[in-house]
């Protein structure tokens, strides 16, 4: 995953409304009207957020010209969590060595 894609993902995720939209889309696709309902926001304001999410590749829009339902695209989100996964693995590797040492030390005591 390219770094600028990660930047776009994190920039899109930096907004609480957009995170809430993604959370809603996890339970299935939805129209702009359905997405706007829980927020005290106009449809144009929600549409603006959707554009950011779409540009970041986090959602896609359906072809149906009337409804244009929004759908979650899991790929970039996974790449974003992989970012911390890399760090997690680094600690896991060290700590597995510590596990082995602690086992030896327990034997000795």
């Amino acid at each position: 995953m390219a770094v600028d894609q990660l930047d776009a993902t994190f920039a899109a995720l930096a907004d609480p409304t957009r995170r809430a939209i993604l959370k809603r889309l996890k339970s299935g696709e939805a129209t702009v009207m359905e997405l706007a309902a829980p927020f005290e926001m106009s449809q144009p304001a929600i549409s603006k957020h959707l554009k950011v999410l779409e540009r970041a590749g986090l959602i896609s829009r359906g072809r149906d010209a009337q409804r244009r339902p929004c759908r979650l695209e899991p790929g970039p989100l996974k790449a974003a969590t992989d970012w911390l996964e890399n760090y997690r693995r680094y600690w896991e590797e060290q700590y597995q060595r510590l596990d082995a040492l602690l086992d030896v030390l327990k034997e000795e005591t």
Binding site: V3, L6, D7, F10, A11, L13, A14, P16, R19, L22, K23, K26, P74, L77, K78, A80, T81, W83, L84, N86, Y87, R88, Y90, W91, E92, E93, Q94, Y95, R97, L98, D99, A100, L101, L102, D103, L105, K106, T109
Partner: protein, 158 residues
């Protein structure tokens, strides 16, 4: 026993892991050079120099050797020592691959012979925090990412 990483604040990373050993033993493994040399470092890296002056204001210094013989030195100063429960120290790298120093707080709690170590690393800025998380053992991509908070984990997993 897996490592959990969270972002408690925009400038911090928290690393939590439990170990099947009593707290005093884990604390020793975190602070005694002869023990640190036996485990510290990611895969492919070994601690070849390790000096610890375990008192408030005392220095610590590690030199690790990695793939192809590459050497990396880092060190800092102990700020608080409450063995075997708590250890606070600064850390910076010789090659300054990230700016300034990190403040690291390790807290050890023991339950039924098992020890949980929670290590909170506080960096000078969100950008530095994110750089470190992106490339833990290497100088690399110096990009800044927006804050990743726990919501991200819930969005992608829950």
């Amino acid at each position: 026993m897996t490592v959990t990483i969270t972002t408690p604040s925009p400038t911090e990373l928290a690393v939590t892991r439990s170990f099947d050993a009593p707290r005093a033993l884990v604390f020793d493994a975190l602070t005694k050079p002869e023990l640190l040399k036996r485990w510290h470092g990611a895969q492919g890296w070994n601690l070849i120099e390790c000096a610890v002056d375990l008192r408030v204001g005392g220095d610590w210094r590690f030199v690790s050797q990695g793939p192809g013989g590459i050497k990396m030195g880092h060190g800092g100063v102990y700020q608080e020592i409450d063995a075997p429960a708590r250890l606070v120290y600064t850390e910076s790298y010789d090659d300054q691959w990230f700016e300034g120093e990190a403040l690291i707080t390790a807290t050890l709690t023991e339950t039924a012979g098992r020890t949980t170590v929670r290590t909170v690393l506080r960096f000078g800025s969100t950008e530095i925090r994110d750089l470190v998380a992106a490339s833990p053992m290497e100088s690399g991509i110096s990009q800044s990412y927006a804050r990743l908070d726990d919501v991200l984990a819930s969005v992608s997993k829950g």
